[in-house]
Symmetry: C2
Subunit: 473 residues, 2 copies
């Protein structure tokens, strides 16, 4: 096998650190859920790294980085590869830095956790719950398999965001240790506003080696599904429920009919096909008040209540949060591979109006899936609508129409930070990359501001990383 990089030189320099270069295995660990997107599927199908390196400690991370720096080999960190925009895919090949072996919980305090980045979220909670009745504030619906470091570097929020806002919000990450990609890699400790340097930077400007996040009390959460005859009624209910400051919720989503019945197969018998639903996770002690609140809404029908069901009835049912966030998309894709999706924001205070306008505009082509969250102190909703895919052109057109209506889209069909995000340079992350990754070896191709500072986001084109073009060729 020939390599673009001196992989043998690397191996000798990092002797004693676990590596894997069986191409099939490396390829497997070079992929994530990019195939969610027909566009990314086309673009990234052939991406693979040259070697998988699995450090067991921060000092091993530093050795790998120093060696790769010296040899000019790209390094792309990977948690557990559940991202869905190819975030962890090595567009220029090189090292896939598998962080999943660094998975120790180092400290649990009141309201606070310190852990290694590779720790899986569900495993963390399995330690914090018996320790002191605590759990993570926020997690993606990939809770069962995603890593803490991958969530912070590649995710944005999810379950818990109805109470705590998103990962970008002050206080939702307490501190990070970050290793730089230099001749002599340094470990920096970031706190406060400095966290923005590397949070949601796809590992393009540092390798997270330790994470501290706040913990919340671990209550028993009760899954509740409420049905409505119209999407507008379901959305209005969820919005009002979210605004109840005294009702402790962990999740609050709305999914338009007939999606729930058609794609939530295990819950199907509870979900009449014509019902639009609100899915909530409610703290046990808030259940009574939540049900009382629900009775104020004419037409609201409680379709599912976990608390009144027997263990037999519950067997095999996924938790409510696995009906939400991108798990809704996943379930829909499994039933109908021609389905794709978008990620939108319905800005406060017009969220309910915009949801309704979107429905009117697109009909069945775009099926509403709303995730209610706290956002800058108010309740509003993100959308992860399901889209009947016809062509990439039509998908782009649907995005443009959304944006023209005042509904920003975070395009999940792009692998770059900017195109999937705010469509502009993040000056803070770029400046930190200059400092922490001067040779541009970390996760190449993901930060347009680094690769092509003059890139014109208004061109209407999709950014194509030159390295990827080579590779795909």
């Amino acid at each position: 096998m020939t390599h673009r990089y001196d992989i043998e030189g690397l191996k000798s320099r990092i002797d004693g650190i676990k590596t894997e270069d069986n191409p099939a295995l490396v390829r497997q660990k070079s992929r994530d859920f990019f195939w969610y997107s027909p566009t990314l599927k086309r673009q990234l199908e052939n991406v693979t790294g040259d070697i998988l390196v699995s450090p067991a400690s921060e000092s091993e991370v530093l050795r790998v980085l120093a060696a790769a720096y010296e040899l000019g080999i790209p390094v792309t960190p990977r948690g557990t590869g559940t991202g869905n925009y190819g975030q962890a895919m090595p567009l220029s090949g090189g090292v896939v830095l598998d962080m999943s072996g660094m998975d120790k919980v180092k400290e649990i305090g009141p309201g606070r956790l310190v852990a290694e980045p590779g720790a899986m979220l569900a495993k963390i909670d399995r330690q914090t719950r018996p320790h002191s009745g605590q759990e993570l504030r926020l997690f993606p619906s990939t809770y069962a398999t995603a890593s803490l470091g991958g969530f912070i570097a590649g995710g944005s929020g999810g379950v818990g965001s109805i109470r705590w806002g998103g990962l970008r919000d002050a206080g939702n990450v307490l501190s990070l240790k970050v290793a730089t990609m230099e001749a002599s890699p340094r470990v920096l400790t970031l706190t406060g506003d400095d966290l923005h340097k590397v949070a949601h930077a796809y590992g393009t400007n540092g390798i997270i080696t330790e994470v501290s996040v706040p913990l919340a009390p671990a209550y028993t959460w009760v899954d509740v599904i409420v049905g409505f005859d119209t999407l507008a009624a379901a959305a209005a209910y969820a919005n009002a429920l979210g605004e109840q400051d005294g009702l402790l919720l962990k999740e609050l989503a709305v999914i338009a009919a007939p999606v729930p019945h058609d794609v939530f197969l295990r819950h199907q018998k509870f979900l009449p096909r014509e019902k639009h639903i609100a899915v909530a996770m409610v703290a046990e002690h808030a259940l009574d008040a939540t049900l009382a609140f629900t009775r104020r809404f004419a037409g609201a029908e409680v379709l599912f209540r976990q608390d009144v069901m027997s263990p037999e009835e519950l067997r095999g049912l996924p938790p409510a949060f696995e009906l939400a966030w991108n798990h809704t998309t996943l379930r829909a894709l499994r039933i109908d591979p021609s389905i794709t999706y978008l990620q939108t924001l319905y800005p406060f205070p017009n969220q309910l109006d915009l949801v309704e306008k979107t429905r009117e505009r697109f009909g069945d082509e775009v099926m509403a899936h709303l995730e209610f969250v706290r956002f800058d102190g108010k309740i509003t909703c993100f959308g992860l609508p399901l889209v009947r895919f016809t062509s990439e052109e039509r998908l782009d057109e649907i995005i443009r129409i959304h944006e023209d209506m005042g509904v920003p889209v975070f395009n999940p069909h792009r692998y770059t930070l900017e195109e999937g995000g705010m469509k502009q340079t993040d000056a803070v992350q770029l400046a930190f990359k200059r400092e922490a990754d001067p040779r541009g070896l970390l996760n190449p191709g993901k930060m347009i501001a680094w690769e092509n500072p003059d890139y014109d986001y208004t061109s209407g084109k999709t950014y194509l990383f030159p390295g990827l073009a080579d590779r795909a060729a």
Copy 2:
């Protein structure tokens, strides 16, 4: 001593239950902090009950109610008498029902407490903290002395409302047991929306005999005071800080200069006279992020940080929440007895504008004190402005000007539910009074809807309870 009521008959019927009829002692226990208001001070000065009855259990409460019902003797419940609108003052004399002896914590569960109504708030937390690291979500600044039942029957919110909203919000009270005033008193259990029947009803339609409320995690709270050159800057900072969903706060107030320096005597050396301040209680694990957030505000100066002070420096300093809510008023009154106050709401989304307009309109006559809270899912603020008192007429005029500006006033110079509240009949509470207190013996004179169904709230007059007129004569 002669009584309007057959007190001797009562005593014989409730033999074995603790009573006190020494007039000086009864008078003392017939008063609360009504003297905060020059108006109430004039009206209520002579109010006293005829006998103090101190039940030790629910069954004793039922015996007292049955006996008083039979003899037609009014019963006015009392927690610990820290209300400040004469809520617990027996306008028609009769029994003062002292609930402070019923103070047991009955059950502590995850996120949930059951207690007797006379339990003092601070004492509850002294049990829940060591038990399971939990504490009350909400408490008034009279935390150290107020009772749980009195808070629910007479209060509205306070410390904790920046996170959880107010007592009126679904989920902030879980259930209440309430004894009715009938020939054979019943005990009803209220939950969900039925809680509104007796919550904040001043004990006019039932005696609360058991309370269940949610608990929150008991973190170490750090007092922080931040100074600003203008009120507008302090208010804008506090509003933005409150909107940080990831920063766990328990209290967030703004007080205009020169009040902090002039009335917070123990903190005076930290508070330059020209500084407008924001006072916050911040969870220890949110402190770092809060300070980082604060640095984003040009001109924000951290004047006080509890966490960096030695035990010696902290000795004798009251906790931050005793600089807030009506403790601000209390401290101002102690320095300058000509000060009085109002209770206002600056409705979202215009709160900052209205605060500024109020300042411009009144200058030094009305000194801003803002309490930031979550209210229907948004951050906004209540006001407890300090007012330089000149006459009752001018006070009424100041209220009218506020209301004309779009700032509703909950008049703290009135002893009735309606005048201190929404200035309209609460049909739910009235209906429940018809059911639970058919002879109108519970806390007479406080619910206008009962005493005078045709009362015209737009008359511009103050309601005068006829029974009180007799008594005062």
